[in-house]
Every structure is written in C-alpha cells, then in structure tokens.
C-alpha cells in the first residue's frame, strides 16, 4: 500500500493527496487517503496505480449523495473530482456544452445563462451537486416530463477506467449513432464502471415565461384522475407534481413555460380540466419540494419509487393504509411521469422495515421499484437498498466484470452486490 501511496503522491503532488477526515466516511467505511487529481489523465493514472496495488476506490463529487447505495465492502482511496471543475466549452450556437465532472450544476447553469441557455435538468442540491455525481446517480427532477432525464440530455462522456484507460464515447453533436451508447451505460451506474471525468450535454433555451399553479384534491383517486387527465390532453407542461402526506390532502402543482399567450391558454385549459379540484396558492419554491424530504424528525427513511403513472393513487392509499396503524408520519413528492420520493419517519425500525418491504413488493409486482436513498445504517444491514434487478442481474455482473475485473470501484454499493 505504501508504494501505491507514494506513487499517487508523485502523480498529483503532495498538496493534493491527504489523509481522510472522519466526515468523509461512506456509511461506516473510512478511506485512508483522499486524492484530488487536476485532470482526466491524473484520474486515470490514479486508478491504474490503485487497482494495480489491489486496492479499492470510492469516487466522490460534491458529496451530497454519498449515503446512496449499499455500504461499500471497502475503499482505501477516495478519488475526488473537486479540481475538475471547468466548463470546458459552451458552444451556444450548437446548443451543447462540454463540462468537467467536478463542476457544480449551478456553476454550469450560470455559464449557460449568459447566452440564454440551460441544461434542462433540475436535480437535488444544484449548488453543491456536481455533474459527475448527478450522472452517476441519474438524478432528475420535475423538468423531465418535458425534457426527459439525463439519458436524453447527455450526448458524450469521458470515462477513466480502473486499468487507467481514458475512453470517450458519444460526441459533441446531438444526433450520433456511431458506436455503443456508453453515456447511457455510465448514467446511473454509481461509479461502478469507471470515473466520469467529462460530459457533453445538449442544451435548451431558458424559457421566456414560467407560470405555476396548484390544486388541492379531495383524495388520492381524484388527484390521480386529474394528473392523468392533464397528461391525456395536448398541453405541454414542464412540471406536473404531486405532494402528499399523512396530515394533508394530495396537492398537484403544474408548470408551463413558453410565450405568455401559450402559458395563458394552457392555464385556461387546465382550469377547465381541474374544475373538480380547489385551486390554491402555490407555495414558494414549490419545484424544490423534493429536497424538503431530507429534513424532519428522525429516525427516518427517504426512498425513491417508480411506478406506472396510473398507479400513483393506489400507491398513496397503500402508504396511508400501512403507515396509519403504525403511526409512521410520511411525506411524498412525486412527478406525474411515475417517479417519486417518500419520507417515512418512526422510532420503530422494525415497523419502518416492514412498511418498506411491503411497498417494494407492491411496486415491483407492477413493474416499478423502490430504492432507499437515506436511512439509519441499521436498516441497510437488514435490507438491500436497491431491490431486484430481475433476470438481467447476471448480465449486469458481466458488464461490471468487463469494465472493472477486480471490483475496485465502489465495491458492493450497487445493485446485486456489484
């Protein structure tokens, strides 16, 4: 190990190679050392040294989601992308941008806004979360109903592989089918195939006007009917969000972007469709509602669920039914496309576990999923955070084995023990 450490020190300079701090532990695994490479070549070089020495690596961006995933089996070295923080190119005429992995989304958006453009993505904590981390966790928000998620926005990627290879895939043009689509494979892979060092995105214009309106619904079924009715007409909302909790009736938020006339016309149409619901004042910062699920009484669990859009009402009823007898307070923010986030509180971890297992079983049976994002470590020791990968798990394992044969990257944190 000492040889590897001195090689790493020589690679990046002593000032960028240090011992870890206690708060840098991932679940209960504390890496010995933290390295902060200056460029993609140094990332690749560091990986080659570490894997050559048989050691394990935990990649890190803005450290906002380090508790996502199962606890790592080990991880002697943490590779931070903090210094890879440049917006390499904003080709505004082509509506693309090339950005290094350690750049925060906020910094990228500020640069893009200078030319009236944006990455049409609204993940959690944009002021701290980095491009690399957002890609690795495939995080997306309400905008996806109109612009898709990362898989629809990322057009190129550079990956540093455990053997020190730096590989590019995709490119700088929006339309490109040359070769396999590695940007999609890397998206959501939680750093288990390689470390993303750079990404290229397609961009969208900053909207001329944004309008939000909110409704309160009597119950889950009328809420679900409203959400489906909105999707079944030919309006083009850029956000359709459901908020619910144990102490409130379900609320629906809608957002339109575009010209004033376009927004007005769609709002009018919405009011006709939503005549059965009560219009309410839209709370401030409502499109960040999801991030509020990370605060509240402890202990708690925050999880992400996915389901078919028409199943949302039934799922809300299930949560209500399961949590009431156990007195588990809960809050939920869901997008109409069928992706949502649930916070469940309660002192009895047994009750929390039972509820989570119940929800997961129900969702998986109907083609959905439940992934635990944050929870007490005790729960992680009793329940896999990812759920089932189905019959594709052997294939996922062999992809992992091809890219990372010694299981050096984030060992054990991903699905199926990958």
């Amino acid at each position: 190990m000492e040889t590897a450490w001195s090689d790493l020190r020589a690679l990046v300079g002593a000032e960028h190679f240090r011992t870890s701090k206690l708060e840098e532990a991932v679940d209960d695994v504390l890496p010995h050392m933290v390295i902060e490479p200056a460029n993609p070549e140094e990332v690749a070089g560091a990986l080659k040294i570490v894997t050559g020495a048989g050691l394990q690596v935990i990649p890190r961006g803005g450290a906002t989601k380090m508790d996502w995933g199962n606890p790592p089996r080990s991880g002697e070295l943490m590779v931070s992308t903090r210094r890879l923080n440049r917006v390499v190119e904003h080709a505004w005429g082509d509506m693309t941008a090339t950005v290094e992995a350690g750049c925060t989304l906020q910094q990228l958006q500020q640069t893009l806004a200078e030319h009236g453009q944006r990455l049409a993505l609204d993940p959690l904590w944009p002021d701290q979360a980095t491009i690399g981390g957002i890609l690795a966790t495939n995080d997306s928000g309400p905008l996806r109903i109109r612009f898709g998620s990362l898989r629809d926005l990322v057009i190129g990627i550079t990956l540093a592989l455990p053997d020190g290879t730096l590989a590019k895939s995709g490119g700088k043009v929006v339309k490109n089918v040359a070769g396999y689509d590695l940007p999609k494979l890397a998206t959501g892979s939680l750093g288990t195939l390689g470390i993303i060092t750079q990404a290229i995105f397609r961009l969208h214009p900053v909207p001329r006007e944004i309008r939000t309106l909110s409704f309160s619904n009597a119950d889950s079924q009328t809420m679900n009917a409203l959400v489906l009715a909105i999707q079944d007409c030919n309006m083009v909302p850029t956000g359709v969000q459901v908020r619910a909790g144990n102490s409130s009736t379900p609320e629906v938020d809608l957002r339109f972007e575009g010209t004033t006339a376009g927004c007005e016309a769609q709002i009018e149409q919405t009011l006709r469709i939503a005549s059965g619901a009560r219009r309410i004042e839209s709370p401030a910062d409502i499109w960040n509602a999801r991030s509020t699920l990370w605060s509240g009484a402890e202990p708690s669990v925050v999880c992400k669920f996915s389901l078919l859009p028409a199943d949302l009402g039934n799922f809300l009823n299930l949560i209500r039914k399961a949590s009431e007898p156990q007195h588990l307070p809960w809050r939920l923010v869901a997008q109409a496309v069928g992706v949502g986030y649930l916070r469940l509180e309660g002192n009895d971890t047994g009750a929390l576990l039972n509820a989570l297992q119940d929800f997961r079983k129900n969702l998986e049976t109907r083609g959905g999923s439940l992934v635990i994002l944050r929870c007490p470590l005790e729960i992680k020791s009793k329940m896999d955070v990812w759920g089932s990968a189905g019959d594709a798990l052997p294939l996922m394992r062999s992809i992992k084995a091809q890219f990372d044969p010694t299981a050096a990257l984030n060992p054990g944190r991903f699905i199926g023990g990958i």
Binding site: G93, D94, T96, N138, G148, S149, R151, T165, A167, G171, K172, V173, V174, K175, N176, V177, A178, Y180, D181, L182, K184, L185, S189, V206, L228, V236, G258, A261, G262, A265, K304, S306, L308, P309, A310, V339, R366, G367, G368, S369, V371, S381, K382, D384, W386, G390, D391, A392, L393, P394, L395, R397, S398, I399, A401, Q402, A407, P411, F414, G417
Partner: protein
Amino acid sequence: MEARILGEFRAIVGKGLITEASELHTYECDGLTNLRVLPQAVLLPTSTREVQAIVRICQREKIPFVARGSGTGLSGGALPVETGVLISLARMNHILEVDLPNARVVVEPGVVNSDVTQRVASHGYFFAPDPSSQSVCTIGGNLAENSGGAHCLKYGFTTTHVLALEVVLPDASIVHLGSRALDRPGYDLPGIFVGSEGTLGIATKVVLRVMKKPAVIQTLLAAFNTTTEAGAAVSGIIGAGMLPAAIEMMDNLAIQAAEAAVHAGYPNCGGLLLVELDGPAAEVEHLMDQVGEICTQCGAWEIRVAQSDAERALVWKGRKAAFAAVGRISPNYIVQDGVVPRTALPKILSEIERMSAADGLRVANVFHAGDGNLHPLVLYDRRIPGQEERATELSINILRLCVKFGGSITGEHGVGAEKKMMMGEMFAEPDLETMQLVRCAFDPEHLSNPGKVFPRTRMCAERTGPYQPHPLEVAGVAQFF
C-alpha cells in the same frame, strides 16, 4: 450447412426455413445494395421461444446469426454472414398491448413503425420516431439502429421511446431489460442495447412510450436563393430560443429530384427550408409569425404556411421521398449520413460544393438542419468506368470532413458494414476497445451480427472477477436473484 442442423431448424420453424438459393437472394442485402452476401439459410420464427431455440443451436454449433426486420437499413447492418443464418423477425408483427392511461404500447419486433401510430391515433397519441421509411421499416430495426427521423430534433430518437425489452441473448437465455416504469435500478441496459445494431442479441418484445399529439402543427416552407441564406435563418430561429419540431433543408438538386418524383409543389430555389412548429395553438401562431420574419430577414422570397393536414402531408411527401427521388435524375447514387455541429453547416456545404466540382460529380443535399445531420447524395453512373469508385471516395471524404468539424460519421443510419472502417477516424483505439467491453459482456463469442460496427474485433478475455458476496448475503438476510 449440414443437413442435420437444417433439420433441427426445420423442426423449430417448419416452413419458415429458406434454403433455396433463388429465395435466399431476397435477403442478400438491405437498403445498402452494393454489399451483398448470401446466408446459409433464412429463418422466420413466430415467437420468442422459436427465436431462443434457433439461437440455442447457433450457440452450440457456433453459427453466426444476423437479425433482420424489413431490410430498409442504409448501412448494411442486416447484411448476412456467409457462414451464418439470417433470422427475419417479419412474422413477429403483433401489437400485443395498448395501455393508454400509461402511454405504453407493447409490440413484437416485426411491427411496422407507422402501425404503432395508426393503432393509437384515434385516441390522439403517436409514436414519435419517424424515419423516412416509417411505412415499411420495423420497430426491431428502429431499435437496432436507434433510428431518428425529421422530428427527433424535438422528440428524441428511438432510444427515448423504448422503455423495456425482452431479449434473447447470444447464449440463448431470455432476459428482460428495463421496465414499464421509469428508472429501473441497475445499469441502463435498454440504453446500451438500443442502437447496438444487432450485435448484442435479438429483441423479441418491446415496450414503447407513445406521446400525445400536439394541439396544433404548422409547417412553413421558405424559399431562399442559397443554402447559406437558409442556414442563416436556421441560426436565427434557434438563436431566438425556439425548439421547432423539425427544421429540414434541401438544395436545388434535391428539390428538382423531389419535384420530378412526387410534385410536392416546391418553389424552384437554391435553398428550401421547411420548419415545423407544434404545441398549443396560441404558442405556435405567435412563434410561426416570428419564424416568418426571421426567414424574410435572411432573404426568403417566398413563404408558405401549410395549415391543413393535407397541405402538410404534401410538403412532407417531397422531403421524405427525396432519397428515392434522386433516382429520377441519376442512374446511381450514394446516400451518406454525416453530422456536424449545426454552426458548421455553411462551412461544410461550401466545402462539399468545392469537392463536388473538383471531382466532377453532382451532390444533392437533403438534411435535418436543426441538428446538423447531413444526407449528401452523391450522384454517379455505374456504367462510366471509375465513377463508382470516385463517388465512394467522395462520400467517404465528406464523412471525414464531418469528423474534422467535430461531428459524427452517422446520425441515424448506423455504422453497419459500410462505415466500420471509418470508426477509427472518429474514435481512438482505447475508445473502441472500451465499447467492445460491452460486446464481450453480452456476446463473448461474437455470434450476433459479427463483423459490424467495429473495424477490429476485440478478443474477449474471461474477466469474471472474483465474486464477493454482499454482507447481507453472508448474513443470510438477503438473496440476489
């Protein structure tokens, strides 16, 4: 092929086995007709189980197999392998399920693209990917090539609209990639499978996402003296913060061809622009006025807006027929599919013009201007000695130019057999080696559509690293299936 093996195939597909040379010729090429190979046999399975049984034999006997839809591909992706079999999915052409509340449609791979839209149109839905061959090409072929079409500028490619797949892997196992709901945990396997040009296995069932048809669709036709002027209008439209559903451009030669073929009523001009906007009525009307103004400022001398479905259909008919129409003005032609960053369009067009003049070969240009996807059509006459070679060379040089401008050798037609030697000009060796790691995970023996996409085949090392059980497995709390 040994009679023993043919007998086994016959036992699976019965009359769906073709071995007669005269019948095999139907399958010797796809839309790229200058590459032709006769397979040993053609098989027409009717179910996933039959596909699996065929692949199981191929796996056992190490027989390469190539899947085929309608054979409209333009890069030789469905070109048979001489020592192998061709598996046509044409008989697996059923729409299995329509779930409109969730906007999902489940199909077999042999379903024709436009049949999906037709099935859901009465409820106001459509399937967005619209390659020009959409009335013939199949979903299986679309997903192999990750097909685009004119409207992918706004709506994305096939990969955007494929949520889940049932696949027969080259080892004959059946796996399910993705799910009907979004964001299935694990690697994005539909993301890597779509666009892999048949090299990772055979899709036997596909869950598609359909979309609600926009409230209003308007198509504007603008005539300019030059493609440069038309190109400036495209920049103006994008610069104004609009995202049209489609922006297409044709040069004079392409216009002449389209007119000769389908009489679309295009103005005879140097650069024709076709801009389609869709969305809420109030929005489209407002923005269309703006598009018209931008075109006028850039020198458009005629502007028409097609309002009715019939008018729009005629406008699009000329554009969609453009490739075939070129056959009216030239005995032979090569279609290419390069992409450049949109701002490089004027530069590359003048460069193509220069190369075309220098070589004495005409080049017609039809392209998706909004996303920089060029379809230069190099016209030639095979009967004139040496012209075919010169035309091929010119079309390759155009692709080289695309790479030089930071673009791609293919935007929607795929690499296939045709452009695999160009991959090395676009990607470095480590890039190509890394992509092939995926191939090694899916198809270590290179049985599924071998010899396509990559210039050289990576030898697949057995890289199954030591599997370390998860602590939960050790503790006996969880099991992985």
